[in-house]
Structures are given as structure tokens and as C-alpha cells.
Symmetry: D2
């Protein structure tokens, strides 16, 4: 594929090449998983064996040692060319590993012995992909940074109560990162991340993922009924409604790559189709028709915009993560998040546009379930829903940052009012 | 629903009201048929009983006597609000009846006794909806006006050989109008319409409709293997590649109404959703969020464009059909067809846009299979594929007519070359 | 021009035909006025002589008696095909006449003798176009329904103080309708319409209109320095910030026609250009190039959307104005205003799109000042700024009405706060 | 300005910084030159003094030694933020210098003594900006690669006959590169580049540039009436209709930067406007309005797409120019040209979109001639006309390359037919 994005780092290049191989393989099973709505288990086994799931684990523990999120995004895109469901499910785990490893590296560098000691035991497990991680952030009826799922303190730990949806990967995850709210001893309500092990009593992964697309991603609902989690597995973060640290936010970036991958795959599919398929009365291949060429021209322009935006945002994110101390101000982080969100919107729009134009060129055959385009049309629509942000929030966020207005002030005030309402109830 | 399109004729108004009732009823079964990919049989029974299928049959034979295609388009739209598959399947039959009735009326008016005698026996059957008609126009690998399916003359009739796809309604049709080519005694190759009765040996309706959307429309593949059709059931028309008469072309117009109906239904669904659904931390209904209002504003603008375009084109078509003699020139017909095609593009774009914005407002819940929006997103994408024309052909057609260039000249020349190639083989 | 919009009323048809004639004539002077930024005086003289300016004056007083705003919009569009500046300047006067005549008709019908007596003397003047009316609504730094220009009561009348911009027609107007705020004896602040005669001391029409486009419309700034207006020339209306009566709002509708007219003219210009202009190496007319045909196809689709939307909204507005008593509720009026605003957005977008595509087809020659397209590109951009509403307000208005939310509540509350702030200063 | 594109090379960074300084200065005169349509002479003097015009001249001859076209594009963009006319005029000269220097470097490296000897004398002149170069490529009625302007051989040189338009910079150029056709002794017709010195008898620069925008660029018409040019100033290139070498094509790339610069400037202008301007009844700055924030969000997304596309294409072009031997195939060059053309379309669309949204936010004040936005709206529309390619050609080119079809075959065949026609005349 010509002028596709290339990895920045050496380790990234290896992982991207491996992901491309996997993608070709997964393509063969994508239709079946989509039709059945079944989780892409054998793909996960293959990625476990090849080491792809350990892309971000340190090399000394058996991983590839990828630190560049730009490169992770490319790898996710390569998987998505074959099977988007697998791509987003793999992404969920891979970036969770990235977070652990980054924490460990920081602890090593800064001499935080406790943190290092807590994280180090995970590294061999992650390097060998012995455990798979899922994340449960979304809930119906609230924004992600204001979870209603609660961690209620009790001696030695917390009881988790609530319900999460869209928990990608939950079908097989050994460990689930659950975004909760917790009431701290000083009476403040904060966000926390609870890590819940599979099989913990009170946690039920409902096998009910049934959606328009991404049907193989196992993004089930999870119900927590007074599910006990030991104290050391609940990490308390900032106030309710606050944006998380940029290094957490940034882990949502590689997911964007999945939608670029769908677009690239749609392009390749329709280009091959147009070169092969002939139509009477002309009897020549479709690609010789002017209208097909023009449509293909528009498609390529959309794809080029998506690639350029993803590549640029990935580089800017990597640069900041390499030297966060160079720009410690919250304003800088907001500006960087703005660039990320612009790229997300550009890629998602471009990807939907590419698939739509490919369908147009297909002339009806793409509308049949037997065409991969009909699956891509459904899968690609997931992009805008991915958090953060949905389009409804993204334009406002971008606009506020652009205009020098604190993008969280309004939410912060709404949270304060909500907490006041809750206390008065 | 405010400022929706209104019927022009009295009989049309009755049918539109009836269709609206049916639509509400059909909405309840739409999800099941979509999920199963099963034909909407009980809906057809209901429309047979109510008389809706006989919308265009003369009143004296039990029908509603609707002549306005504008009004038929509205009725199809009302059905589509509830179940788009039913709408396009019903449309297939209803406009087939319209053609018969128009032919009969013309025969009566102009004193063509033969034609009148041939058509009259059909009227009681159509007035009572005793027979259901399907049409089989599309084939893979060729444009509709250049069918490869052949009617080979033999004593007393023809043998049909070929394969058709996207034959909406074929699951239950008693009679199928098949577009074929026929070699006439003088050596010319012409288009013809063969009417094939269900159960004719050699005709196999493959029960294989399985598509992205419109899954309940029974648009199966049909294979004809030396299927005998008596001479009187094959009507020979113009040369291969020529546009049919405008009154045949015009019968594709009401189908456009189905996609407006989807858009209207998406609007109503999401407006209700936004008024009811609340989201923390604000806790107020979604409709109070500025971003939701803006998105809804864009949605309404798209819907308004679709409605206005459908209504105007329908009126122009009706006017011409009422007095075709006022503008008999082929140039006029091309100009009118241009208006129709503009309306088709506007409605189809608008409908896709409306559904997309409704999904955006839904914030993730619309992506679940349980939401009607996830079905509408798939159903609405069928619009641009409907013939004539696909977007790839439509812009060129419109542009040529606008610039005073014969829109069929190039195709005519390609057909001539194709026939020459065939003869030399 | 094929399938252009047609007048609904007989009197409208006469006026539309007359406007079309004028348009052809005005086209010859459009470039000069644009280049000089000079007011289109001779065009006004011509429209005075022909009676076009009296389109809405009763026939018995020398006018054409047009009541349909749909038809006025068409006439304005026909003028705009030749000279958009003239079209919007003529519109300003014509709809001002419409308001007077409608008030007089209502007074006659309902027996309001005072109002009748006050308006009747104007009718011969308007029927003969002896006076030209301008309107001054816009001010910098505020929305139109919250004017800062004040009418300060004093014995026998008011002193007007303030500044207006974009006062189309003010170069030659004999009478200017000025939107002001007035403090009523009961302490309430209300909107009022002050009618100021040319030459009134204290009113200065600054001859400073100098804009991107519409350069011949004489839309100058007007400064009022304690300008005395007799009591009977100040009509007090509703509270500050409230929407005016629909019959006032509706008079903004015909202006939308001007932008459709620009689009129609751009289409005609570029179609002729593409048929005539040849380009090497092909040496054939541009219209034979596929890319030109496709672009023309897109252009025609945009134009068709604009026409349909304008026609439909015009009909709905006419219907309501004919029988306002049928739907007296404010909710109905908001819904109708929503349809108007949708049409405005559709037409303005379509017109800009048409001109842009015409420029694309022109291939560089349209960029030269000598091409009318370069003027149309500037004139057409005025559309979205026309009140009410600008796009920034329109989507929110439409969305709110669509979602059942009072579209004026937020503004009303802001006005209340503003007045409170003012009182406390 | 946050996250603007950054130079790749050290010399580029110096030039970009210098261009930014110039831009701020030029902004003050931009309105005057635009209004008068006068050439930006004093800006050229300033750029001559500062050395900016010698950006690409070798350092040893007094230049900055910039080789990166990516960086030249950025410098042009910085100029365009202040004065787009100056930017495109400067670009014309700067890339002409780049071509000479690249030829000289190649000659030095490969030991082409003749070529080196011919080019070396120019270097001190260019390093000191003693001569200003213009290019005359465009003619009415033909594509650029098929000039009608002829160089007719005669002893010792050629007579140039023909007419060129859009010759940016021609007002002050000392030397003009004129694209001509020449009949070679073997009877073939080829493209050639004739370098014509100012003051050559028979060459008339008509001072008639008068366009929608870019009014200060001195892009006059030039007429050649048997204008004699010595043999050594006519470089014969490939056949008529062929694409030039990529290193010539690539020099059109930096021009794209000008349109990104306009967009950046529009963004900055409107952001400042929205932060300062207040509007009643709210009385708060515009930037606090949701609708403004949303529009600004859309604007930023467009800008981000433009930046990313320009940056990526510039890098790909630079990479190839640094090692053309790595990918010598014409297919590769077509693919790279496709990337360039995609970037051009993305930037031009984005820039027009940004300016349009800025106008929307301006709420009417941007429509006045006194606002820089009204000039940007006109200047930005020049982008799509810049060669190669216009949008009408670009989509087809991109589509063909994407589909593996020779993008020049059709033109080549048309040229052959044209030459045959000419011979037969």
C-alpha cells in the first residue's frame, strides 16, 4: 500500500509488521465473527502466541518494548484492516499494558520504590500475555468522568456497586479496570480506578454485546453487585468530572488508528474490485469509467487527510510523552488534547466517507452481506462514539480551548451542583 | 408531525392516512424481520386486507384509484416510517398496478380495444390484490437497460434464460416482470418485458436475500433456465440501451419516498429520546444541551430539504403525466427526469444525513442492535443503489441534460459496439 | 430556464415577468455599480416607472396588488439574476409596502377606522412609488430585537439617539423605519418602530457602504443625534427581545429569493460558457468533458434543493398569512418560522455552492474581475448575514423548536438581566 | 500560534522565522494593495534586503541555502498570514531560484561541466536577489502542458509568439520563464522553456491584472510578438502534453502553503475578535457563546487537516528529492504526485472552510471591506485554480493513479490527434 504511515520507532516497526501479518490472517474470520456476534477468541490466542499483545511490555520481560503511541496506533490500524473487532479489543489490552509499563519506568527513573515494587510483578505476566485486561468506563446516563458506579469503603477494601456498558474485551478479560467514584474519608467524592479480577463474586459479565458493528469485540455489559475489591486494587485519582492525566487520555489515541485501518481496507477492496469487475455495455473494467475514477479521487483525498491527521497527532503526542516536563502547564495539555481530538474527528469522518464512497463504486454488490464493505459500513460507525470525546462534546472542547476558555469549568460546576443535589437528597 | 408533506389528491389522502396506520403497526415487527432476514408476509396480508396494495386500482374494481405518483410516494414514506422493507416491497407491487391501470385508462380513452381487452381482466384481480407483482430488472455485470437475460423466440412464445438479482418481493410474487433482451425477426436486439407466473418450470426464486439492510424485502435472486413464456406475455419495447418511456421511469419515483420516511422516523425517534433521556452531571434532559439543539437544527435542515425536493419533483411528475401531450419532446422528458434525479439525490443524501445525526445525538445507545436507529442506518444506505440511477450515473446524466448534451448517446454507442462484438464472436 | 419556480398568483405572475425583464436590463450595469460601489439609482427609476416597486400596492392605487410573499420572493430572485444589489434594495421597499397594505386591508376588514385612516393616505404615494422606504434594524454589538438606539419621549414625540448599520436603500430613501427601544410611562422597555423622514434634523445618512459584495445597495450607516420624531410616527410593539409578529418576520422571506436568483444566474452563465469555450488539446467544448458534466450535475442538485426549499416555504408562509386565525398559537408560528429558517439555510448554502462550482468549471477565467462570477461569489456571501437569523442563531432556533423548547426563553432571560444591569448602573 | 507546522531543516527554520517577521510587517499594507490592485513593490524591496528572496540560493553566494520544499512552503505560509499577494509573488521567484540551484548542485555532483558553467554565473545574482524571476505558464484555451505560444526557430535563436496570462510577478520581473512549444528539426513538437529578459523587443507586459483577489501579485498578461530569444535561453524538454520532471512539478508545492497561511491568519483574527467583541443582551464576549465555540471547533478541525496534509506531503516530497534514485520509476512519481495533489485539495478546501466559518462568527462585520476577512475570502479562492491541477483535473488524476491507470495516456492521445489536426490544416 503506497505511502501508508510508517512507524517512528524500531520496535514499533516490528510490531506494525507483525500486526499486518495478523491482519491478513484475521480477515478470513472477520465475516464469521461478525455474523455470529462471537468474540474473536482465536485471534487473541494468535496475538498472545506471536507476542503482539505484549507490544508495549519491556523487552526484558518478553515484550516488544514499544513506547510510541503513534506506532501502537499504526499497529491497531493494521489489525483493523483485517478485523476491526479484533483491533479494538487488542487495543484495549495493549494500552492497558502501556500504562502499567510507563508507570513502572517512571517509578524506576524517579526512585519511587513502592510504586515500582507494586508494578514489577505484573511485568512478566504482561510480557508473556498471561493476563488480559479490559476497561469499563462507560455507563448509561452519565459522562465517563462522572461515574455513578461506586466504590464503597469497608475494612480492607471496597464494595463496587453499579453497571458498566461497552466493556470491550470483557468476554475474556482476566482483569478489569473499572472507573468508579469513591467517597474519601475527608468527604470528597473522587474518581478511582478499581481493578477487579475475573471471578470475583458479585461481578457478572453479561454476555450480551449485540450491536450494529464491531460485533466480535465482546464489549459486554458488566454488573457489579457489592463486589469486594481489596484496598490496594483501588487507585484514587482526581475529583469527579476532572480530565484524567494526559498519559491516561493519550491511551485513547491508538484506537483512532482502527478506523483508519478500516478505511485503508475499504480502499484496497474497492480498488481491486474496480480493476477486475467489468460491466456491459462497455465491457471494460469499472476502473476505466470516469465516474469511478472521480469517486476514487475523492476517496483518496479523504484517506490522505485521515492518514496525515493521525500521523501528525501521534507524533505530537509522542513528543510530549517523551518530555512532559517541557510543557507542564494544563493549558498546554489542553492544546495537545485539542490536536488529538481534531485528528480523531478528521479520521472518523474520513473513514466513514471512504467506506461510503467504496459502497458507491461497488454499485449494489457492496450492499450484500457477503461483501466486506457491508461490514465495514457498520464497523466504521463506531468511531465517533469512542471516548473521549463524542462529536457532540468534541467541537465544544476544541472551540473552548481554541478561544482560551477553560474547557472543564462548565462540567466542574455541573458536578458541584450534582453533588450538592445528591447530598440534599 | 409538523409540516410533513400532504397528499395532493383526495384518493391519495385516504391512502396516505391508511399507510400511516399500517406504518405504526408494522414498526412493531420491523426489528424481528430485520434480525431474521424474513419476508414481511403478515404485513402484506394486512395491506391486502386493508386495500392498500390496491391503492392505484380503479375504485370501480375495488381500489382507491390513486393516480398521483406524488401521493403514492407519500404513502410509501408513511409505510417506511414503520418498516422500510415493507415500504419498498409494497412499492414494487403498487407501481406495477399503476402501470397496468394507466395503460388501461389510456386504452379506454384512445379506443385501443385490443389493449383494453388484454388489460381489463387484470383489474378485478388487482383491485382485490389477488395477485402480487414483482419486478426483476437488475443483473450483475450490466446496466438495467442492457439486460443479458434473453428471451429466445420459439413457436408460441419465448424461452427465458438468465439471472436476476435484487428482485424485491419475489418471495411471494405471483407474477414477475422480467426485463429481457429479445432478438426480433428483423435481426434487431430490443428490450422486452416478460411476465412470468410463479411456478413456471425453469424459474427458480432462490431464497437468498441477505443484505446490509432492507432485510425483510425478500429481494431474492431469480434464475431462469429455459423458462417458457407464451408470446402474449412478452411485450417488446425499444432498442437495447434506450431509456424506457417516461411513464415507466416515473414509477421509480415513489420509492424515493421510502427514504424520506426513514428520515422522518429517525427524527421522531431521536427527538423523543432527547426529550426523555437525562444525563449526569447535569441531570437535565439531553434536549436542553446546546450541542444537541445544534445537531437537531442541522438534522431538521436536511429533512426540510428532502421533503421539499420530494414534494416538488412529485408535483412536476404528476403534472406531466396528466398532460404528456403538452410536452412531447424527448428533451422535455430528459429535463423532467433530471428534476427527478436531483430529488432522488437530495432525498437520499438528506436521509442518510438525518440518520447519521440522530445516531450522533443518541450518544452510543443508537449503536446497539436494540435501537431502531441501528436498523435505519443500514436500511437508509439502500437508497442510492435504487435504479435509475446510481449516483455514479446520476451526476453525469444530470450534467449532460443541463448542458444540452444527449444523455444516452454514449450508452447507445457502447451498445452498438457491444452488439457488434457479440455478432463477431 | 427549465423548471424554475412559478408564481402562485396571477398578479404575482405579472410582477415576476416584469422583474425578469428588469433583471436582463440591470445585468448590463451590475459590474459598473459593483466596481464603483455606487447606488443603483437608475434601476430604481426604472422600477418606479414600470410599477415594480408598487408590486404590493393595491391595484386601485396603481400597484399590482401582489399579496403572496412566495411570488414577491420569485420577483426578487428574477431581479437578482441581473443585479443582486438592486434586488435586495428593491426588496427592502417592496416588503415595507406590503406591511402597510396588509395593515390597511386588515383595518378595512376588521373595521379599525383609526388604523385605516392613518394608512390610507400612504396608498396613493406607494401605488405611484412617490416615496421610497428603507429599514434600519441592525446595530453593532447587539441583536436586532434588542436595539440600543433609543426613542426618548418628550412632549409631542420622541428624540432618537443611536446608530444603525446595514441600512439598505438608505442612500435614496424618503422614509426610514428605525427599530428603537422606548421606555414607556409604566417603566417598561419596549421595542418600537420609528418612521423618520429624510431631511429630519439630527439624522445623518453616512455615505459609507463599502463591503465585500452587494456594493450597489446603498446600505449605509445612519446616525441619529437627538433626532425628533412626532408621536404618531412611533409605533410601540412588544417587549425587548421578543420576536415580532409573524407578519413582520415573514417580510424577511422574499430576500432569500435574491440568493436563489444569484445561483440561477451563475448556472446560466457557466452553462453557456461550458458550451462555448473550447480547450486544447481536445479542442472540443468544455461541456463535453466528463469532469465538467459531473460538476454541473452537482451544481444542478444544489440548485434544485434551493428552488424546492424556497418554493415550499413560500407556500407555507402564504397559507398561514391567508388564514392566520387557523393556527393562532405561538407554537405554530415558531414551527412555521422553523420552516422558513430551514429554507433560508438551504437556499444560502445551495447558492454559495452553485457559485463555487461555477467558478470551478470556469477554470480561472471566473476569477477575473471581468467575469460576473467574481461578483456573484462576493454578493452571494451576504445571504447568511441577513436577519433573522444568522447561521449561528438559526441552528439553535430550529433545534429548540424541533425539541419543543421555547426558542426565546434564554434571550428573554438575558434581556431581563441586561435591563437589571442597566437600571443598577 | 499553537502547534503550527515547524521547519524540518536548520536553514529552513531561519527563513521561516524571517518570513514570519516580514508577514507581520506586510499585513499593514495588505489592505491598501488589495484596494488599489497595486503590486507589492515595497514588500519585494524588503524581502530583497533581508535576503528572504534568496532563501534557496547557496549560502556561499549570499543565500540561506534552503533545499527543503516543505520549509519553503512554511515560509510562504508565514508571508501569506500577512499578505497573500506577496506570498504567491515571492513564491514564484523563490522556487525559480530553487530550480537553478538544484540544477547547479546536480551538475557539480555529477560533473556536468557545461551545465555547471551555464548556471554558476547566475548564483551571485540570485544570492543577492539582483534579478527577479517570473514564470508564464498559463494560456487561455489550453492546458499548461500544451502551450500554443510558439518558439519559432531562426538563426541563432527563436521568435516567441503568443500570449500568457496569470504571470505572477511579471510587473517587476527581470527575467520571465515562458512555457512554449517548439518544432524541433526532426519535426517533433516539444515543450520548451524560454527565458526572456525584461525589455526584450516584442514582449509587452500588460499592466492589467484585475481579479477577485490576490490583487497585489502583479499577475499580468504578457504578449509576445515575434520576440527574439537567443538559442541558449531556450531549453527544450519533453513532448507536448507530458508531465514535466517531478523536480519541476514539485516547485508548485510551496504555493499551497500560502493558502494554509491565509487560514491561519483568519483563525487568529476571528479568535481575537471573539474574545474581545461583546454583544447584547448578554454583554459577554462572543467567545462565551456555545454557537461560537462549536463553529470555532469546526474551524480548528479544518485547520488541523490542512496543516497535517501540508506537512506530510512536504516531507514525502523532500524525501524523494533527496534521493530520487531510490524510486526512479514513473509510477512512483505519479504516486507521489497523487499525494501532493491530495494535500493541495485538502489544504484549499480547509482554507476556504476556515475563512467561511470565520466570516460566520464575525456576524456581519467581516463582510465589510474594512475587515481583513473580506479580503481573505477573495484571496483564498485563488487556491484551487493554481496549477497543476485544478480540481476538475485533480480528482481524475488521483483516481487514475490510485486505480493503476496511466494518468497521462488520455491527454497524450488527445495531443497526438491535435497535432494531426494541425498538420492537416
Amino acid at each position: 500500500m503506497s505511502f501508508e504511515l510508517r512507524a517512528i520507532s524500531t520496535s514499533g516497526a516490528r510490531v506494525v509488521a507483525l500486526a499486518e501479518e495478523h491482519g491478513s490472517d484475521f480477515a478470513e474470520r472477520a465475516e464469521r465473527h461478525d455474523r455470529e456476534g462471537s468474540f474473536v477468541s482465536e485471534n487473541f490466542e494468535a496475538m498472545r502466541s506471536s507476542g503482539l499483545l505484549a507490544a508495549c511490555a519491556p523487552q526484558e520481560f518478553g515484550g516488544f518494548g514499544v513506547e510510541s503511541l503513534h506506532d501502537v496506533a499504526l499497529a491497531i490500524g493494521r489489525l483493523a484492516r483485517g478485523c476491526p473487532s479484533t483491533a479494538i479489543a487488542a487495543n484495549m489490552h495493549i494500552v492497558a499494558v502501556w500504562v502499567v509499563v510507563r508507570g513502572w519506568r517512571t517509578a524506576c527513573r524517579t526512585g519511587q520504590q513502592d510504586r515500582r515494587a507494586r508494578l514489577q510483578p505484573l511485568l512478566p505476566l504482561l510480557g508473556q500475555s498471561k493476563i488480559i485486561i479490559s476497561g469499563a468506563g462507560t455507563e448509561p446516563g452519565t459522562v465517563n468522568t462522572v461515574p455513578c458506579t461506586e466504590a464503597v469503603p469497608e475494612p480492607g477494601g471496597y464494595r463496587i456497586r453499579g453497571r458498566k456498558i461497552f466493556a470491550t474485551n470483557s468476554e475474556i478479560a482476566d482483569s478489569i479496570n473499572v472507573l468508579v467514584r469513591v467517597c474519601t474519608p475527608d468527604g470528597a467524592t473522587r474518581i478511582a480506578m478499581a481493578t477487579v479480577a475475573r471471578g470475583t463474586p458479585g461481578m457478572e459479565v453479561r454476555q450480551n454485546w449485540d450491536a450494529l458493528g464491531m460485533r466480535g469485540s465482546g464489549s459486554h455489559e458488566i454488573v457489579f453487585r457489592d463486589c469486594f475489591v481489596p484496598e490496594e486494587f483501588v487507585a484514587i485519582e482526581g475529583p469527579l468530572g476532572e480530565q484524567p492525566l494526559f498519559e491516561y487520555l493519550a491511551t485513547n489515541f491508538p484506537l483512532v488508528g482502527a478506523f483508519l485501518g478500516i478505511a485503508e481496507s475499504a480502499r484496497d477492496h474497492i480498488a481491486a474490485f474496480a480493476r477486475e469487475r467489468r460491466k456491459l455495455p462497455h465491457g471494460t473494467p469499472l476502473c476505466e469509467r470516469h465516474a469511478v475514477q472521480t469517486e476514487m479521487g475523492e476517496l483518496e483525498v479523504a484517506l490522505a487527510a485521515g492518514r496525515a491527521a493521525l500521523g501528525r497527532a501521534g507524533q505530537l503526542i509522542d513528543e510530549h510523552l517523551a518530555h512532559p516536563e517541557a510543557h507542564p502547564s494544563p493549558e498546554y495539555v489542553d492544546l495537545l488534547m485539542k490536536e488529538f481530538q481534531c485528528a480523531k474527528l478528521i479520521v472518523n469522518r474520513a473513514a466513514a466517507d471512504v467506506v461510503d464512497r467504496a459502497l458507491t463504486i461497488s454499485g449494489g454488490s457492496g450492499y450484500l452481506s457477503s461483501s466486506p464493505l457491508s461490514r465495514m459500513y457498520r464497523d466504521v460507525r463506531a468511531g465517533p462514539f469512542m471516548q473521549p470525546y463524542s462529536p457532540l462534546e468534541a467541537y465544544e472542547f476544541i472551540g473552548k480551548v481554541s478561544l482560551g476558555i477553560d474547557p472543564c469549568a462548565e462540567l466542574r460546576s455541573a458536578v458541584a451542583q450534582m453533588l450538592a443535589r445528591e447530598r440534599s437528597d
